[in-house]
């Protein structure tokens, strides 16, 4: 079955599954099988922001004052986030658009992926503002071992699905021999399974892979350092929370069987593998924290605290897709981070450069003594 950019068949799109039904033809939103995706689109559009609106001039001075090991933490996180958003700015489109069957979901995928490209553009904005030669930083992303290790795990499921769908579209069902890849079995079952695992893996990317980096950015800003960066990260975090809700809806709809009964069986079969994807990503993020702090910690954070935080949010995210929690950590070791992650007071007007300093004061006032128990000053 080959892909058509305007499917000429007549069918009732309200009866199509989310994926692997008819190719979408008319982009219409007057009727929706899953109205949640239309609501996500509206919300994402209401979040629209441009990186250039955030003034980073004081970040440049701050960056020069950071100790060397702190610069390493800051730049490494930027590189890792750049990798993640490079993947996310294209992959939902490349992997999911050829197989999506609902107009509202198709447009959500495009809107989601578009917002990731804003994140990518914001990293260039930040890097340009703090260093003289951005090339050194960008070039390291494809060679730095700590980062490429992670690139493999975030892209493997996408790449597999893309390969299988392109075989399906050109050669149809059956077992096909691909040079260097061997025999690949293409059945509806194997395609749907590859899809489910891809969404599971993206869900984990959106759910936990950014959070070590977020925590470091906000820990700098707690010391009134790199506040322009923190403002951008707040905006990114708000978007990521919405993307996460998008993937959670896809997974939960699939598992419910209400969208496609066969998907419920596949979700059941893949439960263990989905769990492993969570745990493997959490372990990688903990390793990442150790790599960040290899030459020294920063005020308020160390590898151990960040590791506990990763375990904690992994538990929260697993529960949201109906999995049992994987880690013992029962409490958020850095509860102050939530005051930064909350989006209600995100403003982007450049003349409001003071706003985050104001926030720092406010957050400090809101914290009780016990919140600082884990905060090694």
């Amino acid at each position: 079955m080959s892909y058509s950019t305007f499917n000429r068949k007549q069918f009732d799109s309200m009866k199509e599954p989310m994926f692997f039904g008819e190719n979408v033809n008319v982009a219409r939103y007057d009727q929706q099988k899953h109205p949640i995706f239309e609501k996500l689109i509206e919300k994402q559009l209401s979040f629209f922001w441009r990186p250039e609106e955030v003034d980073l001039s004081s970040d440049r001075k701050d960056f020069q004052k950071l100790e060397e090991h702190e610069q390493h933490i800051f730049l490494s996180n930027l590189k890792y986030q750049t990798l993640l958003d490079s993947v996310q700015g294209r992959s939902p489109n490349v992997a999911l658009l050829p197989i999506v069957s609902l107009p509202e979901l198709e447009t959500w995928i495009e809107t989601w992926s578009f917002s990731e490209t804003i994140h990518s553009r914001s990293y260039t904005h930040i890097i340009r503002n703090i260093v003289n030669d951005p090339t050194k930083i960008f070039d390291d992303i494809t060679v730095n071992k700590e980062i490429t290790k992670r690139a493999d795990s975030v892209s493997v499921y996408y790449d597999r699905l893309i390969e299988m769908v392109s075989l399906y579209n050109t050669l149809g069902l059956g077992t096909h021999h691909v040079p260097e890849h061997g025999d690949i079995e293409i059945s509806m079952r194997s395609l749907k399974k590859a899809l489910y695992l891809t969404v599971a893996s993206v869900n984990v990317l959106e759910a936990i892979r950014f959070y070590v980096s977020f925590a470091c950015s906000f820990a700098f800003a707690e010391r009134t350092l790199m506040e322009g960066n923190a403002k951008i990260i707040k905006l990114i975090a708000r978007d990521e929370a919405l993307h996460l809700t998008g993937t959670q809806h896809m997974l939960n709809l699939m598992a419910s069987g209400k969208d496609d009964p066969e998907m419920a069986i596949i979700a059941q079969e893949c439960k263990e593998e989905m769990r492993n994807i969570f745990v493997e990503a959490a372990e990688q993020e903990k390793d990442w924290a150790s790599y960040l702090f290899k030459d020294g910690s920063m005020i308020g954070l160390n590898a151990q605290i960040l590791g506990q935080y990763v375990e904690y949010i992994t538990n929260v995210r697993m529960q949201a897709v109906g999995l049992d929690t994987a880690f013992e950590t029962k409490h958020n070791p850095i509860p102050w981070i939530n005051a930064w992650l909350v989006s209600d007071n995100v403003q982007v007007a450049p003349q409001e450069a003071e706003i985050s300093s104001y926030l720092v004061g406010q957050i400090d006032n809101d914290l009780s003594e016990s919140d600082f128990d884990d905060f090694d000053l």
Binding site: T245, N315, Q319, N332, N338
Partner: protein, 99 residues
């Protein structure tokens, strides 16, 4: 006039319900979502958006009734509730995911 409006049943804003959490018991009203009222009692609940779209504040609802003034964007698992936007409508018992 004033007496009339304040007597209307839907204007009664001071309904109080009990929230059981482990061995603790907290009194809450229907004026605000559960999250802020728990925080005021010094109970930390995980949150992020505080607007119903991220699911970070999802907690177990063991029994009792809650309502959402607007439909949250986040998926609500059965047996769970979103503390940031749910209004407590009866006595309830809750638990955190870890318990």
């Amino acid at each position: 006039m004033t007496t009339l409006t304040s007597n209307k049943p839907d204007k009664i804003r001071d309904k109080v319900h009990r929230v059981l959490l482990g061995k603790k018991q907290i009194l809450v009203t229907e004026d605000e979502p559960l999250l802020v009222q728990l925080e005021r009692e010094g109970i930390h609940v995980e949150y992020q958006c505080r607007e119903g779209y991220c699911s970070s504040c999802s907690i177990k609802l063991l029994w009792g009734q809650v309502e959402y003034p607007f439909e949250p964007l986040a998926w609500v698992q059965s047996g769970y509730m979103l503390a940031c936007c749910a209004i407590v409508k009866s006595d309830i018992e809750i638990a955190f995911f870890s318990d």
